[in-house]
C-alpha cells in the first residue's frame, strides 16, 4: 500500500499573530483541523485523492472564516463571484468554474465539469446553467455575503475614492492593479488571495 495524506491552505496574507485574537486563532485551528480530518477520512477508507480534495475544500467553503464559498469577498458590484478548479493527476483530467454567483460549493461543480462535461472550464451563467442541468440547487448570493466582507468592500471603496494612496497594490511596472483589504482595519494589511 502506498503512503497517503493531504495538505491544505486557507489563504496567505500579510497578517501577524498579534492581528488575530487568541479566540479567532483557535477557531482557525479547529476549522483547518476539521478540513484535514474530512479529507483524511476519505483517504484512510480507501477513497480517491480527488474525493479527499473535495471533502477538505467543502469544509473550508462552508466556513465564513475563509475567502471561498460562504464568507467570500465581494466584487466592486457588491456581489460574491466564485472561482474553483480541480485536477486529477492520474488522467491529467481537469475541471474549472469561474464567476459563479449561486453555487454553494464551487469545488463540487468544478469536479462535475471535469467528470460530466467535455470541457475544462465553464464560466458565469453558462456554468450555472450546467449546474441546473445536473440538478444543483442554486442559493441566493446573500448566502455567501457576511457583514465583515461588506465592511471590507466599503473600506476598499473609500480608499479607492481617495485615490488609492499607499493601500493600492501596484504591480512590478507600478500600475495599480486593485485595492483590497483584509479582515482588519489596518489598511497596510492586504489580503493576498
Amino acid at each position: 500500500m502506498h503512503s497517503y495524506g493531504l495538505v491544505i491552505h486557507a489563504g496567505a496574507a500579510a497578517i501577524l499573530r498579534k492581528d488575530l485574537s487568541p479566540e479567532l486563532q483557535a477557531e482557525h485551528q479547529a476549522k483547518l483541523s476539521e478540513a484535514l480530518d474530512a479529507g483524511y477520512a476519505v483517504l484512510d477508507s480507501g477513497g480517491e485523492a480527488i474525493d479527499a480534495v473535495v471533502a477538505a475544500i467543502r469544509v473550508l467553503e462552508d466556513s465564513p472564516l475563509y475567502n471561498a464559498g460562504k464568507g467570500a469577498v465581494l466584487n466592486a458590484g457588491g456581489v460574491c463571484e466564485l472561482d474553483a478548479s480541480i485536477m486529477d493527476g492520474k488522467a491529467q483530467a481537469a475541471g474549472a468554474v469561474a464567476g459563479l454567483q449561486h453555487i454553494k460549493n464551487p469545488i463540487t461543480l468544478a469536479r462535475d465539469v471535469m467528470q460530466k462535461s467535455a470541457h475544462v472550464m465553464l464560466a458565469g451563467e453558462g456554468a450555472e446553467k450546467f449546474a441546473r442541468e445536473l440538478g444543483y440547487e442554486l442559493v441566493p448570493n446573500e448566502y455567501f455575503q457576511t457583514p465583515l466582507r461588506k465592511k471590507q468592500l466599503e473600506k476598499a471603496k473609500e480608499i479607492e475614492a481617495a485615490g488609492g494612496g499607499h493601500t493600492a497594490i501596484r504591480d512590478a511596472e507600478g500600475r495599480i492593479s486593485f485595492v483590497t483589504i483584509d479582515d482588519h482595519a489596518d489598511p497596510e494589511r492586504h489580503k493576498w488571495g
Binding site: 502506498h2 464559498g69 472561482d83 480541480i86 491529467q92
Partner: protein, 132 residues
Amino acid sequence: TVGCAALDKRGNLAAGTSTGGMTNKKFGRVGDSPIIGAGTYANNRTCALSATGHGEYFIRAVVGHDVSARMEYQGMPLEKAAAATLTNVSALGGKGGVIAIDHDGKVTMQFNTPGMFRGFRLSTGEKKVAMF
C-alpha cells in the same frame, strides 16, 4: 482562497482550489485559482499543488506547472522546485504561497507573506496546523 492537494493509497495525486477572488475586483477579473497549471495542478509523475496569493503573478509564473516541470525535467525534489518557482513569483512582485504533495507523500507549504493558514495530515501519523 482555500486549497488542497492529496495522495491516495493507490498513489494517485489530485489538487483543488476555491476562491472568492479579490475584494472590489472589477471587469470580470479572474485570478489563478481556476486556471489549471497556474493555481491548481496535479501530475502523478510529480506532485499535486494548490496556490494562493496575488493571482495575476501566479498566472504569469504558471506556478503549478512550473513546479511540476522542474521536478519532471530537472529531477528537482518538491521542496526545491516549489522554492524556485516561488522565487520567480517574488521577482515579478507577487505575494502568496503554495502547498503541495509529491508522489512519495512528501509535503511542502511555502509562502512569501508573513502568514499562510495551512496544515497537513499523513499516513505516517504526522498532523500539523499552522498560521504564521
